[in-house]
């Protein structure tokens, strides 16, 4: 019974995204259909209005989930510091070594021949020069990198060649990797710069650096 008790306890602690902002309405429980019709009609109208208003849309951004990545808005960022881009990802290796370590071959922008890369099982991080770092997650062993965005950071859903993505810029956010078993790789915890995250085939890619959104998208679309 303790598993069931724990699941029920967990239910109370789950974080749900906010439902669309609507005028409070009491639906159901009414046996008389006429008020129900009116209530639903008002609700539908309220929904349409709510969807047209930007603040209602932005409420979604309090919690964004992309395959392998969760972005959460928080009041206070967890303690983290400015650390090297590849902090916690082990020593620099050749690209071949990194691919062996990660268990999959990396994808790259054309014309880029990196001299070094960093890897853990299912993750490869490749410095692209100019303080830019391309991180690739295969989703086998470490599929969740977790970010906590401060209020100052702009978090926007984007698409890269039709695939879903997230753009974070303009304010500090914190990056931490999580293993599939649920434990965090705390040594990867660090403050991150502007970042584009997107799905690329079976991989989830993450491009970080002093980039604008158009620059990041251009680079992202070139990756094969």
């Amino acid at each position: 019974m303790s598993l069931e008790r724990d699941l029920r306890a967990l239910a109370a602690e789950l974080e749900w995204p906010e439902p669309p902002e609507l005028a409070p309405l009491e639906l159901g429980r009414r046996r008389n259909l006429r008020p129900l019709v009116l209530a639903v009609a008002v609700l539908v109208l309220a929904l349409a209005v709510a969807l047209a208003v930007p603040p209602a849309r932005s409420a979604i951004l309090r919690f964004l989930h992309l395959r392998g990545v969760t972005v959460e808005r928080v009041e206070t960022l967890p303690r983290a510091q400015q650390r090297p881009l590849a902090a916690g990802l082990g020593p620099a290796r050749s690209l071949d070594d990194a691919a062996r370590m990660a268990g999959f071959p990396p994808v790259l922008p054309p014309g880029v021949a990196p001299t070094r890369a960093y890897a853990r099982w299912s993750v490869i991080a490749i410095p692209l020069g100019g303080d830019r770092l391309l991180t690739e997650l295969s989703g086998i062993g470490m599929d969740v990198s977790k970010k906590f965005a401060s209020g100052a950071a702009r978090v926007a859903p984007v698409t890269v060649d039709g695939a879903p993505g997230i753009w974070i810029e303009g304010g500090p956010h914190v990056l931490v990797f999580r293993r599939r078993d649920g434990t965090y790789v705390t040594e990867t915890l660090r403050l991150a710069g502007n970042t584009l995250l997107w799905e690329h085939g079976t991989l989830t890619l993450r491009l970080e650096g002093p980039l604008t959104l158009p620059e990041a998208l251009r680079l992202a679309r070139s990756i094969r």
Binding site: H65, L77, D181
Partner: protein, 154 residues
């Protein structure tokens, strides 16, 4: 509040807040149009949840992606002195372990657990959401619990 539970059902099915929002909107519009089919005296909530869940499933299918468990345990408010991330992460060990184990279940089992325990839906409501009989909900939930016990202990 049906709005909240309907949104959460759609979120569990689609794994995406934006898709869940659209599914609820579309589901409510469809429910409104289908009200004449609603049997007087029947329970309203399972009927509404079934429509929203169908809409959510259709959206997930047409998006072509597989929905994972998008749920996370709440991030504790850190107050003025933020606890070390390491400490707060350790506190969450059991929760994260459970979430990871539920997330690793096959979709039918994951949805059954999510509906019964995370959304606290009745068997009848869960059956409506999953589009199966109550007996199937029972057996699916029991098998899922068994599998979870193998993963994370009793």
């Amino acid at each position: 509040m049906h709005r909240e539970v309907a949104f959460r059902v759609a979120y569990v099915v689609t794994g995406s807040a934006a898709e869940a929002e659209d599914a609820v909107q579309e589901g409510f519009v469809k429910a409104w149009r289908a009200l004449w089919r609603f049997r007087r005296g029947a329970e309203f909530r399972p009927w509404l949840l079934k429509i929203v869940a169908n809409e959510a499933r259709n959206r997930r299918r047409s998006s072509g992606r597989r929905a994972g468990l998008a749920l996370r345990a709440a991030h504790e408010p850190s107050g003025e002195a933020a606890p070390s991330p390491e400490a707060s992460l350790l506190d969450r060990e059991r929760r994260e372990e459970l979430l990871a184990a539920v997330g690793a279940l096959p979709e039918p089992a994951r949805l059954a657990i999510s509906c019964r325990y995370f959304l606290e839906l009745s068997e009848e409501e869960t059956a409506a959401v999953l589009g199966v009989r109550r007996g199937t909900v029972k057996s699916r939930t029991a098998r899922a619990l068994e599998r979870l016990r193998e993963e994370v202990g009793p």
